[in-house]
Symmetry: C2
Subunit: 194 residues, 2 copies
């Protein structure tokens, strides 16, 4: 199948093209997992030029985040952590994660993905590859933090989101975000700096 | 249905009776949830005297832990935390949780319960009631720790178990327990003492 072949009647760069690339990306990620999927393969599946995929989404990580409607674009997390003083990383990370998960429209698709990962090995493998390669290892390596420590930080925030939004433990579920920032930021900060 | 009525041919106190009480408890917990279930109701369902239920399991929490084959008996957690110096709580808790979840035979039923809680509201509600009322609030109140802080500690360890055993993030999944104790104990200690 040629990468330049297009379905008749579709203009390159239309909103429709973007949606079709995302739909193609979902099929490719579901079939191949995150690590083995490529921008070229997604372009082929969408019957568009790879340059167009890059034009819309920059990176494979970006496509994945949008295809699965993840509220956490890795680029945003990495830039949020790297910009600003090192001693404020814990606070910035906790605040960012609580902010992007506060809105049901962005939180629910992420919870759906996590639920799949909890109950299906294939989804767990895809989630694992994305979380580690696109997010955790990149942040860890950019900051010189051992991978185990960044996974301890991930575990803390993952557990908080589960307690708050899935298990709905009180008082965690109803706690004010700023109270949680105060409580959790020193934990995250310690993993990043000690 | 009388609480003293028994099926013919069964001796009180036999291994069979114990198993039938657990089977009855599973039905009662599934139907009523943890909070509304009572020892008396479980005894009625098992067609035995409530004293026999107490004889085998002491408390409703104890029945629940055994009925769902939970590796974490609340009594064990509470006594482990309360015995010994306060400044060693973080280390004792992390070590206990890693130890009881290290064995697949005790870990898998717990993961099964968590998977149910992640995907079914009713299971989530039962898990929530048990975790908070039988475990977290009791420990928190015995030690004078605010409920939110103990839920932050729970979130850390819950996240670690998910990362290690469900998502299987490396290096977390293969990490030596003692390395994890060293990494996580200060986090838990801070929630309990600061």
């Amino acid at each position: 199948m040629s990468t330049i072949k297009r379905r008749p009647g579709r203009r390159p760069g239309s909103a429709d093209t973007r949606g079709e690339i995302l739909a193609a990306a979902r099929r490719v990620f579901a079939e191949m997992g995150f690590d083995k999927a490529t921008v070229r393969g997604i372009a082929r599946e969408a019957q568009v030029d790879p340059a167009l995929v890059h034009h819309y989404f920059d990176t494979k990580e970006g496509i994945f985040a949008e295809a699965l409607r993840l509220p956490l674009n890795p680029e945003l997390v990495v830039s949020t952590l790297l910009e600003g003083p090192r001693e404020g990383i814990g606070e910035r990370l906790v605040r960012l994660i609580l902010k992007v998960t506060a809105v049901p429209e962005t939180r629910e698709p992420m919870l759906a993905l996590i639920r799949s990962a909890m109950t299906h090995d294939h989804a767990a493998s895809m989630f694992r590859d994305f979380v580690t390669n696109a997010l955790l290892y990149r942040v860890a390596d950019a900051l010189g933090v051992p991978h185990l420590r960044i996974e301890a930080a991930f575990s803390q925030m993952f557990g908080v989101l589960m307690a708050r939004y899935v298990l709905k433990l009180e008082p965690m579920a109803g706690a004010d975000p700023e109270e949680l920032v105060e409580l959790l930021a020193p934990t995250i900060q310690r993993y990043f700096t000690e």
